[in-house]
């Protein structure tokens, strides 16, 4: 083993130990590696900017973030909330169902779990607490349902996975439709069970006239995912173009339909968009540097040879990767899993002939479950922060929901057709 092999590993460990931003750590690893091996350090720029220059699909990231920021404003979320309440109606635990339903609706616009938990989360938790639900459960269901965000299309993690693996982002989006809906249904089944057990409040009843009124109000926003998905399904637009159309549509309805954006609001939305886009996308570029040195040192091949020496059974491998990522997801940020560990397992998955769309969807669901698993679950931190609820109480409350999500993950892992049915039919 040469010392050059240790440079990326040591840098990675130091990045974690010293709280260094992952982007900096990866770029720094590139510099020290090239300095030691006598390579051209300018390659760091070539890899970072070159991967972005050729990464057409990545252009969807700022567009999705912009759409999410526009749609995450009070009036749109209010319209979604009243529409969902009217749709669920007079049921025991109605607001908990509403929470899950809103996450599914919003996932069609935002593509991010964080946007869901942080954006509409506060409104959901406040409404549930005011209605008599306990705070930890309200936070836990908000955090768990936020997981749907990046599974139902559009999805920023799918775009990044497509970039890392060379898989069609359109197929990944289509592959996420059924799992996204199944995740919402699974959580709703849990809500049904727990609402009966704890005797949670019954929802309001609405007349048909009220329901129609709320539906009309919500209709423009509900059309955003429809436009996006129809554009991709029919092949009229690429997913990136669909992202631009959805962003334009969101802007038009926010300006002229809901009248929620003035000049100041638009500027704030743009500032939030470019900073978030810079933060996420530069990480993709820095990951290209890290992937370059890792590949140059044959690390993926070594890991691949080692793992394939233990097993060549794809189901055992999928189970092992799932377990490894779930364990890592308990302690690491999703970005670290996606940019550091995922590029290392992709060659192994490909070598065993596992369908890359299937793998993309299950590994994304796996990483999103990681967002709600203690001790490091970002959506748990967010919901604890916005509601002033002790983290430990939410962590305890979310455990059964994690079991529900894990059961779904296993089902999707071992029955790939659930994911592949739509992409195979639509994309051939």
């Amino acid at each position: 083993m040469t010392f050059s092999l240790w440079i990326p590993i040591i840098m990675l460990v130091l990045t974690f130990l010293l709280n260094i931003p992952v982007t900096y750590g990866m770029l720094g690893a590139g510099v020290y590696y090239l300095l030691y091996t006598g390579g051209d350090i300018g390659l760091v720029v070539g890899q970072t900017m070159g991967s972005l220059y050729t990464g057409y699909v990545l252009m969807a990231v700022p567009l999705f973030i912009f759409t999410a920021n526009v749609m995450n404003s009070g009036k749109v979320t209010d319209a979604m909330f009243t529409f969902s309440k009217a749709l669920i109606g007079k049921r025991k635990g109605a607001l908990a169902y509403v929470n899950v339903l809103i996450s599914l609706i919003f996932s069609g616009m935002t593509g991010s779990a964080i946007a869901d938990a942080a954006g509409i989360g506060k409104m959901e938790i406040d409404a549930m607490v005011n209605d008599g639900y306990d705070k930890p459960f309200s936070c836990a269901i908000t955090a768990a349902s936020a997981t749907i965000g990046p599974i139902f299309p559009p999805s920023i993690p799918f775009v990044i996975y497509a970039m890392l693996s060379g898989t069609s982002v359109g197929s990944l989006f289509l592959g996420g439709v059924v799992p996204g809906i199944m995740l919402a249904i699974s959580l709703s089944v849990y809500v049904w069970f727990i609402s009966r057990k704890r005797d949670y409040p019954i929802g309001e009843s609405f007349t048909f006239r009220q329901f129609a009124k709320f539906s009309i109000k919500a209709f423009p926003a509900l059309m955003t995912p429809v436009i996006l998905l129809v554009g991709i399904y029919t092949g009229v637009m690429t997913p990136t173009e669909a992202g631009a159309v959805a962003a334009l549509y969101a802007l038009i309805i926010a300006l002229f339909g809901y009248r929620i954006l003035g000049f100041k609001g638009l500027m704030r939305t743009l500032v939030d968009t470019v900073v978030a886009a810079g933060q996420i996308t530069i990480l993709t570029g820095a990951a290209a540097v890290f992937t370059y040195i890792v590949a140059k040192e044959n690390i993926p091949s070594m890991i691949s040879a080692y793992i394939l020496g233990i097993t060549t059974n794809k189901w055992v491998l999928l189970l092992s990767i799932n377990t490894l990522f779930l364990l890592l997801g308990m302690f690491l940020d999703t970005a670290v899993l996606q940019f550091v560990f995922l590029p290392m397992v992709i060659p192994i998955v490909r070598a065993l002939g596992i369908n890359m769309i299937h793998f993309g969807v299950i590994i994304s669901l796996n990483m999103m479950i990681g967002l709600s698993t203690p001790p490091f679950g970002l959506t748990l931190f967010i919901t604890a922060g916005i509601s002033n609820t002790p983290f430990v109480k939410i962590a305890k409350e979310i455990l059964p929901m994690i079991i529900v999500m894990l059961a779904l993950l296993m089902l999707l892992t071992f029955v790939p057709d659930i994911i592949l049915f739509i992409p195979n039919r639509m994309m051939g």
Partner: protein, 173 residues
């Protein structure tokens, strides 16, 4: 005079981390809209729009990343760090910043050299040098160095036991 200098620096900071990426994003977004509109409604394919989208995207990302550096919004693993006391955090900040600042300082000249070299390549339609598209990366590196130095100074002050104003505390931790 120092007041004027501070104002100029603040304006430059805002221009690089806010105004430029916003203009780049609007350019990228508009080019996308023109591209889609012309293809489906005018049955015409403009080739230049693609280059505007790519250029706008690269500038949005690199200058937007400057904004993320300024706001300390880059993703990091803080599980261990959060458990430490302020002095322990300051030591970690200092160690991490030294490690990365040295790497980024080493990177500046080769990055400049690489970007200058890329001026021999141009985009196919608008003939824009690739160096122009890659140049914001250098701004991102310099921006990041400045903020790491700023945070390191705060960390040193914490280690010396100085009382810091509330708004600077989070920058070192």
């Amino acid at each position: 005079m120092p007041n004027k200098l501070t104002k100029t620096i603040q304006f430059l900071e805002r221009a690089l981390s806010i105004y430029i990426p916003i203009i780049a994003f609007v350019l990228m977004f508009s080019a996308f809209c023109i591209q889609i509109f012309s293809r489906y409604f005018l049955s015409r394919q403009f080739e230049w729009t693609y280059e505007y989208t790519v250029g706008g995207f690269l500038w949005t990302v690199a200058f937007g990343a400057c904004g993320a550096s300024k706001n300390r919004e880059h993703v990091s693993f803080s599980l261990l760090y959060d458990k430490l006391k302020p002095k322990g955090q300051a030591i970690m900040t200092l160690a991490g910043n030294i490690l990365i600042t040295i790497a980024f300082l080493i990177l500046i000249y080769p990055a400049y050299d690489f970007i200058s070299f890329m001026s021999i390549k141009v985009t196919p339609v608008l003939r824009v040098p690739i160096s122009f598209l890659y140049a914001p990366f250098l701004a991102f590196i310099i921006f990041s160095i400045i903020y790491m130095l700023k945070d390191s100074l705060i960390a040193v002050q914490i280690l010396r036991g100085a009382e810091l104003p509330a708004e600077t505390e989070g920058q070192a931790s």
